[in-house]
Amino acid sequence: MTIADIYTESKNNFLFSDSTNFSSLRNDILTNFDLSPKIRKNNESLKHLDPHVLDFSYKYLKSTNNISYLDNHKEIIDIKVIDGKVSAVQNMNKKNFDLDINNIDNSNLLIEKNFLDFQEYFNNDYILNLNSLMLNSGYEINIGRNQEVNIFISHSISDKELTIFQKNMITCLNDSKVNIIEEFQEDKKSNNNIVNYIDLASGSEVTHLIFQNNKEKSNLQSTSYTNCKTNSKYKQLVLNISKSSSRNHHYSNLIGDNASASLDGIFFGSNNQCIDNKTQINHSSPNCVSSQRYKGILTDQAKASYLSKTFVEKIAQKTEAYQLSKGILLSDNSYFHSKPELRIFADDVKCSHGSTIGPIDKDLLFYLRSRGLNKKESTSLLIKSFFHDIISDVNDENFIEKFHFYSDLWLNENNI
């Protein structure tokens, strides 16, 4: 079945299916949805993507928007997302948080407008167009002024071969401090295409840790788009240890003075995995700071790409922006494509980028082995050392332990 056939067959089940504006957008997307070999080769959203991601049969179980609420005396707000919708929330009432969590339905016109406004940034991105075309789920989280909250979001699906096309909206009002841990541990064959829009009001701070550990056939395309206003701080780390093909595209817009954003990523790839990474930070205000760091380890025939971009507008003087891309290749057939890009239109900025790709440093390995550690122990230490600068910025001990556990597991599973 073609994408057009799938759309026509299921169009009444999509979110905002009764909206004229959304229908018009969907028709535009469909009219321009050209997957010819030339487009697949040249379009940036397709050329680093696992092509199998586009071969799917649409299947979505329409479930209720009702959310069950529970308290279990923990400090963290625990949100269970099943099939793209919030099904349960724990501990929200404990401290009378000024917090609001809802599933999005067709009547939510403000959200619909926001989604349509965001669309203009992604017109050439086939995965995001597919997300808008087949949109079937999503939720909104609104965090009030001065709130300090820890949120844990676990994503899962209820049946095999489901296709989740989800858009979420997270709004953090002035001076809120929010820690979000998002977890994907899916073992059913599925395709998950998820877009998070995050809005940081003045003085708010968000730390967003994303743990991805999907099994072989559970593909994930994760996108985030963050707007950072004056004095706000957004810090994201994607730890991708999935065995499936994955896409992580994350964008931040610094739109107020003294805002900062960091988009970091760690990924491991083996077998025939295809890992498509992209980050972009747009500096649209003066005195903002940004950092983009992605590091990965690949073996077997695994392929990965990382495109990073810093865009500094003319108004964004005193910008400080940093980009780093590093890859370790453990086999002759693994492949890492890195493309750092700086586009600077202001004249008083500090911007830099660096990129290295290669095998494990033989001199480092020799040093550790010359102290009696075997090759496996030494490699494990060097891999932790490789990621150290990114991991040492994480304040969550459980997340760090998870990183150590899964990186060792990955090394064992791949006989390294």
Binding site: K362, D363, L364, F366, Y367, L368, R369, S370, R371, G372, L373, N374, K375, E377, S378, L381, L382, K384, S385, F387, H388, D389, I391, S392
Partner: protein, 245 residues
């Protein structure tokens, strides 16, 4: 024989570095190797420690009745070979104390001895560091990360003091040291030196050999030993260079 190197020829990138090199050492001896830059001193150290990118063209090395070329890098270390690196490498995120404990335990395990626990190891490490004038705060840092040149060399000596090797190779450990770091190095060697272990000291300077008295000095040129003798050779080199050797 404790260490016997016979007719060793080694190349890297098709360039011969060691050419029929031979050397014999007994237990408890200190041998110094001097020689101009590029004569093959560091290659010799690296080959003894097992660095893999060298091509062995011929010859053999026997250490404590083991053919060294049959052993990999870590097996040589576990057998008692320790190389103090000329340029110790920084490894961010690998903390000194657990790293060194793992290193010692790999050796103890090989020797069939019980492994050391974290608490008693930390105590011992602190004691040895203090004896060598190394600040305790250094022990909570990552391996060589942000260390000055002198600190890196001191840390090599601390590792040597903990691992108590039977053959320690010091590859220009004295180069670029201030007075205090120099003292740490010489004290460190003299502290563990006994009739059961041997030292192979590679240096450019007589000064080190005034503090660690060698039993033999060998002069290397073009990948082989061209002269061997006592401490007077070092004085001759200090005065006239390598021209008349």
């Amino acid at each position: 024989m404790f260490l016997s190197i016979k007719n060793l020829s080694v190349a890297i990138d098709d360039k011969k570095i060691l050419d029929n090199f031979s050397l014999e050492m007994n237990k408890g001896e200190v041998h110094a190797i001097m020689g101009p830059n590029g004569c093959g001193k560091s290659t010799l150290s690296n080959v003894l420690a097992g660095k893999e990118e060298y091509e062995i063209l011929g010859g053999e090395i026997i250490f404590k009745d083991h053919k060294l070329f049959d052993l990999n890098i870590e097996e040589r270390s576990q057998l008692g070979i320790f190389l103090a690196f000329q340029y110790p490498i920084e490894i961010p995120g690998v903390n000194i104390t657990p790293f060194l404990k793992a290193s010692l335990n790999s050796k103890l395990k090989k020797e069939g001895k019980p492994e050391v626990d974290a608490l008693s190891f930390a105590k011992e490490l602190k004691k040895v560091a203090s004896e060598l004038g190394i600040k305790t705060e250094m022990l909570s840092r990552s391996v060589n990360e942000g260390f000055s040149g002198g600190e890196k060399k001191r840390y090599e000596i601390l590792q040597m003091s903990i691992l108590k090797p039977s053959l320690a190779i010091l590859d220009e450990t004295d180069s670029g040291l201030d007075v205090d770091a120099f003292k740490t190095v010489t004290q460190g060697v003299n502290r563990i030196k006994n009739d059961q272990n041997s030292f192979l000291i590679i240096t450019h300077y007589q000064k080190l050999l005034d503090h660690i008295i060698p039993d033999f000095i060998h002069v290397m040129k073009d990948g082989k030993i061209i002269k061997s003798g006592d401490k007077s050779i070092a004085e001759q080199i200090e005065e006239h260079g390598y021209k008349n050797i």
